[in-house]
């Protein structure tokens, strides 16, 4: 198996490990959990040298090629960079979480969600197919939801999780629409094809829609203005989650998406304006909001928003160099922000509070952690010799060289410097407010240093901040180059990762930011006072209110449409039928077509009049149920005659026998149901229903008239021509049933069998009151089985069975066949039940109808499978002619065996229904003990 496929699959497998190992100690669970991702990381590192040399790995397993769906993974520079971040920081987070979570938390469940997220995120960055990428994208939203709501007993966690899922999930739907349109324009969902056809995409008329849709997806995920508010609320998650998902990886998915589709979508004014302006607004807003947070994690969350805005701004600047800077800052931000979150978690864990108004002077209590946190926040502020400084210098440099805003382009570097000032100010606040600034106030615990290994992840990350800051090109030079190469789809501009570029304007901007940040922080009390004048709008409350309104509206709507009344559903269904079926009729010019009509004759008119009267009588007398049943049977008989008249002998025979069975069934049912229907429909309801049924009747009549009077272009000629030569029978209808469309028939007898078994189960535990008299109080006759009927029907039975056999055998060539023969046999047996009663039959007729259904379907299926023995497709039929003395020439066909299966199923199903229902009327009915 190839290595590329193993990387995500190993991680997927890893989701099960914590669930299995949760019963061991927490340390063991953490180490076992880390094992598979570690192997995956090792595999990635093994492939890394080749990728840094410019190679690209791809693998694909076709799934539905015609729809462009496949399981396709790729590993190029950009994917490599993200995979390293995801797996590397993921492993550190596992170690950290082992110490962060208390023994009350279900650590197995937590790790399972975390690894699930890791898998989803790896899937996003490694996908080589747009649809697959989207599926993983949504999976990150879902696993993020599970992780934020990990402490489900907290209202904040539930609300924050719901908000995050709503925002990112909705964005995901926009993204799906965009990706589908994008795939449609390109004609392929393969990523490389999409990346290579940038010019075509930008020239297409749907380009603006695609871009806006995909950007909405990216902006919601990466918490860009105006969707930024979900991120601070996601801080209700355990801190390892915040460090991993909401700073280092998941929120970068949106950024990744923009970088990934940079060759396809960027390069137009629409892209530049939308991306850069959104990024700039988010950069400033996030920085401003961060300054006023009292919650440690709130500050970090808002600063994350700000830095994500910075990266977005870089991606929207339209220069390739800015893209390189953006990718560089992705790395740097992931390292310093993850370590800051971890430090914040340690502080929270060891002091019991995250409120910066309480946390002061922690330097004395945890100097080691304080040093690490201070280095990381200096990286965040952009202090020289740390990684944040380098990418921020590149950012300042780019703002100076862009001109996408024309003559007001100068505002961008000014605003960027302002953003820099804010970021220095909140970084200072993080350092000064927490570690210095007097003594702690009312802390729940006395702060102290964390366990040794809880600090390790922070140490690793802070060491990386320093290493990148001091030896940038040595540590990340190759990685940055190959990631930029992949994101740009070739042609990386020349850039320098040196620490010192001489005295230039970006350095001046950095200096202004540092000094400005100091000034702002020094005067923070005035700013806080100013900010306090604004009413606080908690997005959580606003969001909850909107959700509540939506829920109550939806509840009302569901209550209105789904009130549990079948009558209402039928009404809606019928109205829909009218609308859907009447609308196309508006386009039909004339009702009648040009096909010549058959002249009327007296017989047909008589039949039609009888049919109409009987149908109307059924409706008019529907409250007197027995009468309605009699008129209904008149309708059925005339339908039978109609089939016979219009050249369908098979249908006439079937309808006739079904008619008998149906009416007997309904009469039996009526024995247990009320004999009369009470009058309860309001006049309004009656008029409404009359209107609806008249409309539908009119439409149906119109359609069938229009159909019948138009010429027919049928595929049936094929059946007529091949019936004798291919199917070996002259009755085309039967040959279609058992041969041409035998598979349909197999399905149909299966349905029949299932329905019969369902009925059997329904009858089995039925507890019905058995009336001893009719509605008028007249008792039922005590002579249940009149002698005359018994004698006559008994002598009729062999005759009926003979007719049935005859009909069955001739079915292939003359009207008849398994269905009809089965029904005739059923009628004959039912007659015996009626004449003799259930007990009498039970003693004499040892038939298990369930086995009969099973063997019927079995025979039909085996006949079909038999053709496999001869290397033919399922249900290929065989026939030949034989000669026997006395009998003469006769035909044998495999189709007859199939028809036997049909016969058995029909008899079994019909008898299972009727015999069991009939049994209810006798002493044979099963008696169930009432529950005491």
């Amino acid at each position: 198996m190839n290595t590329l496929l193993c990387i995500p699959l190993l991680v997927l497998l890893g989701t099960l490990v914590p669930l299995c190992s949760t019963r061991y100690s927490r340390t063991a669970c953490a180490f076992l959990t880390a094992a598979l991702p570690a192997v995956a990381l090792f595999l990635v590192l093994q492939l890394a040298p080749a990728i840094l040399d410019g190679q690209r790995f791809q693998t694909a397993i076709e799934w539905v090629p015609s729809l462009g769906l496949s399981l396709a993974f790729r590993l190029d520079g950009l994917s490599l960079l993200f995979s390293l971040l995801i797996l590397g920081i993921g492993l550190l987070v596992i170690l950290y979480a082992r110490y962060y979570l208390s023994s009350n938390d279900n650590i197995g469940k937590f790790f399972c969600y975390l690894i699930l997220f890791m898998f989803a995120m790896l899937g996003v960055v490694m996908s080589d197919n747009l649809i697959q990428m989207w599926v993983f994208w949504e999976l990150t939203s879902i696993s993020s939801f599970l992780l934020i709501s990990f402490w489900g007993h907290k209202s904040d966690a539930r609300k924050g999780a719901r908000m995050a899922l709503t925002i990112t999930g909705t964005g995901g739907l926009f993204l799906l629409a965009g990706l589908l349109m994008l795939g449609n324009v390109v004609g392929s969902f393969e990523l490389q094809t999409v990346l290579d056809s940038g010019d075509m995409i930008r020239a297409s008329s749907t380009y603006p829609i695609i871009t806006v849709l995909i950007l909405i997806g990216a902006f919601t995920k990466s918490a860009q203005f105006p969707f930024h508010f979900w991120l601070p609320n996601a801080m209700a998650a355990p801190t390892p989650v915040s460090a991993y998902l909401h700073s280092a990886t998941m929120v970068k998915a949106g950024i990744f998406l923009m970088a990934r589709f940079y060759p396809s979508l960027a390069g137009t004014d629409l892209w530049f304006l939308m991306v850069s302006m959104t990024g700039l607004a988010t950069f400033l807003l996030g920085g401003y909001l961060a300054l006023f947070q009292h919650d440690l994690k709130g500050l970090l969350a808002n600063s994350t928003i700000s830095h994500l805005g910075l990266i977005t701004l870089l991606l929207g600047m339209g220069s390739d160099l800015a893209l390189v800077a953006a990718i560089f800052h992705i790395i740097n931000h992931a390292t310093f922000k993850a370590s800051l979150f971890m430090a914040a978690g340690i502080i929270d864990h060891e002091s019991g509070s995250r409120d910066m108004r309480q946390l002061n002077g922690l330097w004395k209590y945890m100097p080691y952690t304080a040093t690490l946190a201070m280095v990381a926040s200096m990286a965040m502020a952009g202090v020289p010799l740390l990684n944040g400084f380098l990418s921020k210098e590149m950012f300042f440099n780019e703002t100076l060289h862009q001109n996408s805003l024309g003559s007001i382009s100068w505002m961008v570097p000014v605003l960027a410097t302002l953003g820099g000032v804010l970021s220095v100010a909140y970084s200072l606040r993080f350092i000064h407010d927490v570690f210095f600034n007097g003594e702690p106030i009312n802390l729940p615990k006395t702060p102290h240093e964390p366990p040794r290994y809880m600090r390790v992840p922070v140490e690793v990350l802070v060491a990386l901040c320093l290493a990148v800051g001091i030896f940038p090109s040595f540590i990340v030079g190759d990685l940055l180059y190959s990631a930029s190469n992949a994101a740009l789809n070739g042609d990386v501009p020349s850039y320098s990762l040196a620490i010192w570029h001489g005295f230039n304007i970006p350095l001046l901007m950095s200096a202004i930011a540092l000094v400005g940040g100091l000034v702002v922080y020094y005067n923070r009390q005035h700013l806080f006072k100013f900010q306090a004048q604004f009413p606080t709008n908690d997005p959580k409350i606003l969001f909850e209110r909107a959700i509540q309104q939506l829920v109550s509206k939806a509840t009302w709507f569901i209550g209105f449409t789904e009130n549990g009344s079948l009558q209402r559903y039928m009404y809606f269904l019928m109205m829909l039928t009218i609308v859907v079926s009447a609308y196309p009729l508006l386009d039909l010019d004339a009702t009648a077509g040009h096909r010549p009509e058959i002249p009327l004759d007296a017989l047909s008119i008589t039949g039609a009049v009888l049919l109409s009267l009987a149908s109307l009588a059924t409706v008019i007398w529907h409250r007197r149920r027995m009468v309605a049943l009699l008129t209904l049977s008149v309708v059925g008989l005339i339908v039978t005659l109609a089939f016979a008249r219009f050249s369908a002998p098979d249908l006439a025979l079937t309808q006739l026998s079904v008619e008998v069975v149906t009416i007997i069934l309904l009469m039996l049912a009526l024995f247990f149901l009320p004999q009369k229907t009470p009058k309860e429909s309001s006049p309004r309801r009656v008029v409404r229903d009359l209107g609806i049924s008249a409309m539908i009747g009119g439409i149906v009549g119109t359609v069938i008239f229009a159909l019948m009077t138009r010429p027919l272009d049928t595929i049936s000629d094929f059946f007529t021509e091949n019936s004798k030569t291919g199917g070996g029978g002259t009755n085309v209808v039967n040959v279609i049933l058992v041969d041409f469309r035998g598979f349909d028939t197999l399905g149909e007898i299966t349905v029949l069998g299932i329905a019969a078994l369902g009925i059997f189960k329904l009858i089995a535990r039925m507890r019905l009151y058995m009336p001893s008299s009719n509605e008028q109080g007249r008792p039922w006759s005590s002579d249940r089985h009149p002698l005359m009927l018994s004698v006559v029907s008994q002598s009729l039975l062999p005759l009926a069975l003979l007719v049935s056999a005859y009909i069955f055998l001739r079915g292939h060539n003359m009207p008849g066949g398994g269905f009809i023969a089965g029904l005739i046999t059923s009628v004959a047996i039912i007659q015996q039940y009626v004449a003799h009663g259930v007990d009498w039959i039970k003693d004499r007729l040892k038939l298990d109808y369930q086995i009969m259904i099973g063997s019927g379907i079995g025979i039909a299926t085996l006949t079909g499978l038999g053709s496999w023995l001869f290397g033919r497709p399922f249900l290929t039929s065989w026939f030949d002619y034989f000669y026997l003395p006395v009998i003469g020439k006769f035909e044998l066909a495999s189709a007859m065996l199939f028809d036997l299966g049909v016969f058995l199923t029909v008899v079994g199903a019909t008898m299972l229904i009727l015999a069991n229902l009939g049994q209810l009327t006798t002493s044979e009915r099963a008696v169930y003990e009432e529950e005491a």
Partner: protein, 121 residues
Amino acid sequence: MEGIYAFCVGLMTACGIFLTLRGRTFSVVVGLTLLSYAVNLFLFASGRLKLDAAAVLGMSEEYGDPLPQALVLTAIVIGFAMTAFAVILAMRARADLGNDHVDGRIPQTKESARQKAGGQR
């Protein structure tokens, strides 16, 4: 001929629909049966009406369309199974719920509510 055929199908459909919209299970079953007659005739007629043209080779000059016939034949049998299922379900519902209303409970009309209130007084 086609005209009265279409009329009959339309009328049966209308009658069937009216009955399926009623509130008691037995009426609905009768309505469904009527409706399935109409549907079968409808499908059958999509092969056009022909006199003396059974689709048996060698029996007549021309042949009616055998395909709709084959489809309708199975539809008749399945229709029976469906009717049977519906009516048994209706019986079961009556046994378990104590009434034969399609909603499983007798709906409160204004009149019956008034009667109830009167009875309590």
